[in-house]
């Protein structure tokens, strides 16, 4: 059990700075998700916490220790890798026990810890198998078992679900969350999938181009994105971005400035009855909901989310859009939130 503090973490590869100073505090037992597009530095940040990458400047504290120069095994962490990274020539049992064997844990204790983890992960029937004889989901469980048996202070997950199919991903997502709750271990989880981030995180760090754009609870981040990037990255479909003012009685936006509105905060009404008019281009019925794509009168593309039970508007028909103005967010030319 431990809290993690990142203080002005920077990382250079040669002359190129890839992480530009990140500060974060992760409290004991918290599940924190680092989310961002590929190449934003999120995995690098995690690997620096793990001790697999050197830190160019700044401090990482785990508990009350500065761990900058410690080897991974001395940091009291366990890591789950994207490709599981199981030792192919060892049985499931040996895979889980390897770290403990190196740490010279007594044999009886290794045995009981592995059995306990196997029971928790429903891996008991597979302990004698080799990794190649397991399915993707089972391999993922073994990788988690290997992390659990070490009883680390911190769990690190590097996109652990990205090699699984969609259904299994949802299931394992729930299992990871439940497991982390049960063990009460501090967890850092890297993903590019904003759904995973939203569902797993107590708090999330949204990263873009080596900078933490926003740190906060998932729903806060969703409702109050600090920047246009966060608004576009969190939420699917992303927030609508309009480059023309639609609120009555206001001047046209500054050049480069935009306003944003989530698709679920717009309702379709009769033409002329809403705040603005809109031409339907096409609909994507998803069952529970339908996404209506179209173009506003001012020429901005826009998506509206309506209930799946509503009748679909025909392609090409004009409609009105009723928009709750309280949900309209403004962003200045640099992409930051502005009050107007």
């Amino acid at each position: 059990m431990a809290e993690i503090r990142l203080e002005a973490i920077k990382k250079n590869y040669g002359r190129t700075e890839v992480i530009h100073g990140i500060d974060a505090e992760i409290s004991d037992g918290e599940f924190i998700v680092i989310v961002g597009p590929s190449g934003c530095g999120k995995s690098t940040l995690l690997r620096m916490v793990a001790g697999l990458e050197t830190i160019t400047s700044g401090d990482i504290r785990i508990g009350d220790r500065i761990v900058n120069d410690l080897e991974p095994r001395e940091r009291d962490i366990a890591m789950v890798f994207q490709n599981y990274a199981l030792y192919p020539h060892m049985s499931v049992f040996d895979n889980m026990a390897y770290g403990l064997k190196i740490a010279k844990v007594p044999k009886a204790e290794i045995d009981s810890r592995v059995q306990e983890a196997a029971r928790m992960l429903e891996l008991e029937p597979y302990l004698d198998r080799k990794p190649r004889q397991l399915s993707g989901g089972q391999r993922q469980r073994v990788a988690m078992g290997r992390a659990i048996v070490r009883k680390p202070a911190v769990f690190l997950f590097d996109e652990p679900l990205s090699n699984l199919d969609a259904k299994l991903r949802v299931q394992m997502r729930l299992e990871i969350k439940a497991l982390q709750r049960k063990l009460g271990v501090t967890a850092m989880y890297v993903t590019h999938d904003q759904v995973e981030a939203m569902t797993l995180a107590d708090r999330m760090i949204v990263m873009n181009a080596g900078v933490a754009e926003q740190v906060g609870a998932p729903l806060d981040v969703y409702a109050n994105p600090a920047s246009l990037f966060v608004a576009g990255f969190i939420g699917s479909p992303p927030m609508n971005v309009l480059s023309h003012e639609i609120r009555p009685g206001r001047e046209e936006l500054d050049p480069g400035a935009v306003i944003g509105i989530r698709p679920e905060h717009i309702d379709l009404v009769a033409p002329g009855a809403g705040l603005i008019d809109f031409d339907v281009a096409f609909c994507e019925p998803l069952g529970a909901e339908t996404l209506v794509h179209g173009v506003t009168a001012a020429g901005d593309k826009l998506v509206v989310r309506i209930d799946g039970a509503d009748t679909l508007p025909a392609d090409g028909v004009p409609m009105g859009l009723a928009i709750d103005q309280a949900h309209i967010l403004a962003f200045d030319a640099s992409g930051r939130r502005s009050e107007v």
Binding site: L52, R73, A78, M79, F81, N83, A85, Y98
Partner: protein, 281 residues
Amino acid sequence: MSGMVEKRGYGTWLTHAALIVGIAVICFPIWIAFVASTVTQEELIRPPMPLLPGPHFFDNYLEALLTGGVAPVWQMLLNSLVMALGITIGKIIISLLSAYAIVYFKFRFRMLFFWLIFMTLMLPVEVRIVPTYEVVASLGLLNSYTGLILPLIASATATFLFRQLFMTIPDELTEAARVDGAGPVRFFIDILLPMSRTNIAALFVILFIYGWNQYLWPLLITTDPSMNTVIMGIKQMLPTGDQTVEWPVIMATAMLAMLPPVLVVVGMQKLFVKGLVESEK
């Protein structure tokens, strides 16, 4: 195995006929050598040459093993075995270690060393044999196992092969081992070695035959008959001038010299195939 290949009538006969002819062409000289090793000198030199084995199998082989030509064949076989095993095991250990260093450690001039090793691929033993002889001679290693083994022990080919193998092992595995607390030595022994076992088995076969079949080098540095290896020993047994020799004994020696590589191939084949079936990817 049945059912793996569809039956095709004449095609099957034709392929089998071709295979049988091929095998006959390759095996006939060996058969002649075998026949020659089971008859007496008189029978052998009187035309026509016998094509069926005679009754002197044990006489000839015992004479070869215990008396031989300049040295008894059992001693030459032992020398060959020591040399071949020394070269094989030494080469495997050295190339595993150097490939490990080149792939997993960052040190100054790493690529320079790699290219130096790689360039020696282009230099066969024969090219550097005179300076090598000079070095071995001045170190006083003539007529010794060390002298037989040492100059042949470094192998660019095997180093290169292990380098390529290690580069296919995912980085995440290395990192998982680091997180598990395995230092460089444990990682090498616990992870890399078991994952390389099929390649080690294959190399063992190839290198053993390479070591066993060395001819020029032992011929140069062993002047003492008790250090002769069997491959060069056969040459020493051949008549010079007007000596008369026992050809059946020479043929028996040749058969004995062929045996260990065959045993290694047959013996290792099982391990080799098992390794291939079990291998990852």
